[in-house]
């Protein structure tokens, strides 16, 4: 099964990279862009894991390894069964 984990800065943490991208888009005339935040995405292929197991495994990997809870938050979803 395949899961997708999105990691991004907490709202309380400044995202200068996102701001730079937003500014670049503005310069190019994409004025509709109000706000932009940049994060990381991990697409993970898991073998021999069912939904129930994933519910336990993925949050553990995400909070222990993939995200730093001081500055980052994550969400995840199953994208392929």
């Amino acid at each position: 099964m395949k899961v997708r984990i999105l990691v991004s800065f907490k709202d309380s943490v400044l995202d200068p990279q996102g701001q730079t991208v937003r500014n670049a888009l503005h310069t190019l005339g994409y004025d509709a862009v109000q706000d932009l935040r940049q994060g990381k995405v991990f697409e993970v292929e898991l073998a021999g894991v069912d939904r129930a197991a994933a519910e336990k495994l993925v949050p553990e990997m995400a909070s222990k390894v993939l995200a730093n809870p001081i500055i980052e938050k994550y969400t995840w979803s199953v994208i392929e069964d």
């Binding site: 309380s12 943490v13 400044l14 200068p16 990279q17 730079t20 390894v65 993939l66 730093n68 001081i70 500055i71």
Partner: protein, 228 residues
């Protein structure tokens, strides 16, 4: 006395650090392999600069899981000295041996230059050879040195005298310009509550010989050596 420098895959200031302790200060210094579970009886552990595991996930994030880190945690818990330089500082943050986290430098670029840092707490075993407020000229070289901690943590750090070094102007004053990477409160180096774990972004090993332009890094390295 024996000093140990941890070699992670991707460390690149490991041998510079060994050179500084061994050749410049003349102290027995050994490399410690990250896959081992053996601190070889050293009296101080140094986590050197570099790009452990390429810094691919986050700076220092993967190195934290190295086998040897188990021993380093125990060593630190016993109150023995651990010094993290640059990437080593980042590893200490990821290990939660020091509070907070690192963000990208404020200009979103890698930054290599000499900076002025001010000794904020001169009573530690890493700073005792310097005076309070003394300004040291030491180079930095990093991409993620923009120190961050949530407000409560930051307050505790300040109240507890845990700020070891701050970026400053050559005269010791603080300014936005001298805070080269955008760190909160211009923090360049921290110490834990117990006073035995220290992390800093500047590279004292690059400022320990006259031929390299500055010897100010020796205040830090010699403080540690003297405390052993």
């Amino acid at each position: 006395m024996k000093i140990g420098v941890v070699l992670f895959p991707g460390s690149n200031c490991d041998f510079d650090t060994i050179h500084a302790f061994k050749e410049v200060l003349g102290k027995p210094t050994v490399p410690l392999w990250h896959k081992d579970h053996d601190l070889q009886g050293v009296d101080a552990v140094i986590l050197p600069g570099g790009f452990s595991y390429g810094d691919y996930l986050r700076s220092g994030a993967i190195a934290r899981f190295s086998p040897l880190m188990q021993e380093v945690r125990e060593f630190a818990a016993k109150g023995r000295p651990v010094l993290g330089i640059c990437n080593g500082f980042q590893v200490l943050l990821e290990l939660e041996l020091l509070p907070g986290a690192m963000l990208r430098n404020k200009n979103l670029k890698f930054l290599c230059r000499h900076v002025s840092i001010k000794v904020e707490n001169e009573k530690t075993r890493f700073t005792r050879k310097a005076r309070k407020g003394q300004v040291l000229n030491i180079p930095i070289a990093h991409f993620d040195g923009n120190y961050y901690a949530p407000p409560e943590t930051l307050k505790a750090i300040e109240d507890g005298g845990q700020v070891a070094f701050r970026y400053c102007e050559p005269d010791g004053s603080l300014s936005e310009a001298s805070n080269v990477n955008g760190s909160l409160h211009s923090i360049a180096g921290l110490i834990n509550k117990a006073g035995n774990v220290c992390g800093l972004m500047p590279h004292p090993e690059r400022a320990s010989e006259k031929i390299l332009g500055s010897e100010d890094g020796r205040f830090i390295l010699e403080s540690l050596v003297e405390s052993l």
